[in-house]
Subunit: 322 residues, 4 copies
Amino acid sequence: MIKAGIIGGAGYTAGELLRLLVNHPEVEITFVNSTSNAGNPIVNVHEGLIGDTDLVFTDQLPLDEIDVLFFCTAHGDTKKFMESHTLPTGLKVVDLSMDYRLAAPEHDFVYGLPELNKERIKSAKHIANPGCFATCIQLALLPLAKNQLLHENVMVNAITGSTGAGVKPGATSHFSWRNNNLSIYKPFAHQHVPEIKQSLRQLQCSFNSDIDFIPYRGDFARGILATLVVNCKANADSLYQMFNDYYAEDPFVHVTESNLDLKQVVNTNKCLIHIEKHEDKLLIVSCIDNLLKGASGQAVQNMNLLFGLDETTGLKLKPSAF
Amino acid sequence: MIKAGIIGGAGYTAGELLRLLVNHPEVEITFVNSTSNAGNPIVNVHEGLIGDTDLVFTDQLPLDEIDVLFFCTAHGDTKKFMESHTLPTGLKVVDLSMDYRLAAPEHDFVYGLPELNKERIKSAKHIANPGCFATCIQLALLPLAKNQLLHENVMVNAITGSTGAGVKPGATSHFSWRNNNLSIYKPFAHQHVPEIKQSLRQLQCSFNSDIDFIPYRGDFARGILATLVVNCKANADSLYQMFNDYYAEDPFVHVTESNLDLKQVVNTNKCLIHIEKHEDKLLIVSCIDNLLKGASGQAVQNMNLLFGLDETTGLKLKPSAF
Amino acid sequence: MIKAGIIGGAGYTAGELLRLLVNHPEVEITFVNSTSNAGNPIVNVHEGLIGDTDLVFTDQLPLDEIDVLFFCTAHGDTKKFMESHTLPTGLKVVDLSMDYRLAAPEHDFVYGLPELNKERIKSAKHIANPGCFATCIQLALLPLAKNQLLHENVMVNAITGSTGAGVKPGATSHFSWRNNNLSIYKPFAHQHVPEIKQSLRQLQCSFNSDIDFIPYRGDFARGILATLVVNCKANADSLYQMFNDYYAEDPFVHVTESNLDLKQVVNTNKCLIHIEKHEDKLLIVSCIDNLLKGASGQAVQNMNLLFGLDETTGLKLKPSAF
Amino acid sequence: MIKAGIIGGAGYTAGELLRLLVNHPEVEITFVNSTSNAGNPIVNVHEGLIGDTDLVFTDQLPLDEIDVLFFCTAHGDTKKFMESHTLPTGLKVVDLSMDYRLAAPEHDFVYGLPELNKERIKSAKHIANPGCFATCIQLALLPLAKNQLLHENVMVNAITGSTGAGVKPGATSHFSWRNNNLSIYKPFAHQHVPEIKQSLRQLQCSFNSDIDFIPYRGDFARGILATLVVNCKANADSLYQMFNDYYAEDPFVHVTESNLDLKQVVNTNKCLIHIEKHEDKLLIVSCIDNLLKGASGQAVQNMNLLFGLDETTGLKLKPSAF
């Protein structure tokens, strides 16, 4: 059994990670660290776990007792922790924050998008788990980059559920405001764009265009649906071939000729992709569950790869569908 | 023109009151007092008012310049204000808090349910505006009390929208939690029960039973739907007659033989009531918009009565319907 | 009083028109024609009207008794009606279908977008009321066309509420499916694009680019939020000036420097517009209520203009806000 | 491997059953019969299954090839089928319709509520799977019946998600109507009451009171939350003891002293129960997912028992939580 510890256990990604790990056949949760909740049973904080676990939050950090450490910390806090602690040799790390997603000489974190870096992940020690929007958008573009087809700006509109903004309540997560509402935020300036560009350049080093990304706040809790438009000469048939070839060995990504809807992926670790040509314009629709393939599901997928398990272990989830 | 001032202008009931008063043909808003927002245009705080008003929040209280003062304050704060200020003679007050809803020798506030106290309101100076649940439940029961028919406990289940809980964000108003969710709170112990009993006893002094009230948090923003069950020997026809007679002069209350749904009243000042007999059990369904008939709409209705206007002035609202 | 008749009275736009007209101070509803509902009180079909009207659907068409006829018919049916009936001289028509939106020698309908054709509407006899998406998108672009600034393709993503798809139930309007869901439809092929292009060319005859429009089905009932991106050299200040100048005499369009959210316009006849420059890219956000400014509200606005009334008569609506 | 066939494969309960069975470690789906969809891949009909199965609907019925047959048919159709076909000896049946829920000399179906009839189910051949409301309400009452504590009428208010009404679109399942709406239906007359009474009498043969049940249509897709009120002299501690004792061997029912919310059970096979005493009144809150514990999850639980598997096999589901 893989012994797992979690730091930052009170947030949404930690809750989702716990909901996955309590049913994972190869994992034992050793500790869930949360300073603010120390002593409190996790069922009191994380929806849906009554009857599934007796775990209690702790303020202890028995790092010697675990095989893998998940950081579900706020952005910036993983880095602070890593710089102030010496981790046991051999302890593997999956960081869900954005602290180490951009490659740099100062760190050895591998960008944990299995559909891009599967072999590197298998032999890595430290994984930087991708952002939710970044995952959804990259999976829509990687086959194009692989085929050196990205030569112009990519227009991206993507709508996220409220869980993307975290557990802390505020004006834009207030039910009275958000219910039946829509708005955009950080247009052309979202923090996930650099990691998207990094990945595209990994496959197509000539890529030098903009990702013009407008994020929307949706009035639902889970999921991201993105539409991308880019000029492209290739025809639909050859594009389907490229996408299917690219994802041939990836169990969670499916390319479909049917129109999509978001709930097809909700409560799953899947990414569904649909493509259409309209004259020279290529339209790509991509959907994920932001808490699963966009966060904790992908973290477990990375953990599976780190420990030599089948990628799908513990991730064959029943879609909620409704 | 009636000159109006508002204290506690940053909350939901103040916003709704402003949305009503900017279009009220007989009212001029003189000031909107909010310490926390002084200097801020009200359109920056209250949804839906862009283009409708240039008003700015003030920390001033020019009480001499107004004819009517609305308190949209937190419970307890109206009383503190009244006890620490001397109001100009002749200034009328409509208090949306619960501070003066229960009659007491120490104050002269009239309970502002027009369907119960219309004549007293017309000649009053100080009005205690009823609670939202209290309004919805009382309107379902007043004709029974008037006809001395309440002899047993009344079972009430009522579901409220999130705006009933106010603007302050918290765990149970977080969109991620409340969306598609349901829960109950304060069963058998809601603070509106005493004002309901007070009104019932005003019409049926023998009333001495329980109001067994279970409030639910609904996953919508506006509205209250209540179902009430009470034993009653009268038949359906005579009950419809009693209800229709009772509300014959009340423009906002309609009794219908059709089944109801909540959105029939959303964004209106109406209360719709449907009744059914099932053997000896009487089922009553009652719906209001909690921010209108349950708060700010009723406050304007009371203001209209205080100043001799037609009760419906400024309150013939287009239902949102969808 | 203006005497009004409605054909096709059972649909959503007819319901919204009725909710407006019952409170319009200058209108008397003479008949509401619906073959399928003849004899049925309209409160049995249209949500929110209990207590507001005793009108009954009719299968009669007393065209001699009215001053204005509203077509709330399915696309194609207005044309069939016009071609098979002789209307009384002097009878004015507002057609909410798409049958006459594109100018043609065979008809004399004026395209009823008051912010484009106000003077022509005032003296017209027949009005083709614009489409909902078309209204939202045009209002975002007209000031640019007026200033001859549209030289490249315009990327439009716009999300509509379910009422845009009408009352007939189907797979994509089933609550179980649509709740918390998102999807796109008719990308690059929506039927409103031609009327948008027609209006842009009216102001900028050189306009010869594409409107690349991706419509989304949103999981809310009312409203459209559109984001538009187009290359443009003008700076933000001069653009705000152009937009404010263009809409200086239009009471329902407001340009704001604040970020928008959809519910600011829900249950109003407003269009709110926000603009931002990001290097050479101009982002425009535009919001309307699809049933009001996008359909029945605009129909009433057109009627007001046809009969010499103030444009806002009967349209100063309380926003629902929540 | 258990070989399973499904009749009536196009509805919601069949879809949910398929989402469970594709991941069930001991089941192989042999056929999914649907006359209307014969030849159509099931992923084209059932949300969430893309990538999970290549199954195609069939109009064939190879009953000889299966070990268990699930009826996901409309009420009445199972009976018609059973009366017009001779099933292979040894074929086990789980019927999700209401045709055989009430015991009768003419049939040998066992009422498939494992928390009531576990041993009988294990040795049964034919199972009548309980109704969704019936499951939620019975689980709230069985420990009281077991302890002979039901002597007065039970007041039940229960709110269901839209999936309870099935896939066929109609007025009350139209998104535009149901979104943010609430209504009741069939008060005091719901078809699940007889099976509830049958179960209560099985444990407390003296039970002779009414189940006064008001069902509500909620504006969410999945789940049922019920509140029950009944007079009861026992104190809270002893009641908790009774409930915990009753469910000691039932892995899906959990009794909690904390207040509940519906999403704690959504996408799980759990039933959560919370109880409170208020003087002599006992309040019970009970929640299930109507498609899982209320239908297809319970059907799989029954199948597990029929074939000697652990009751939870294939049913340790990740809660959706949001």
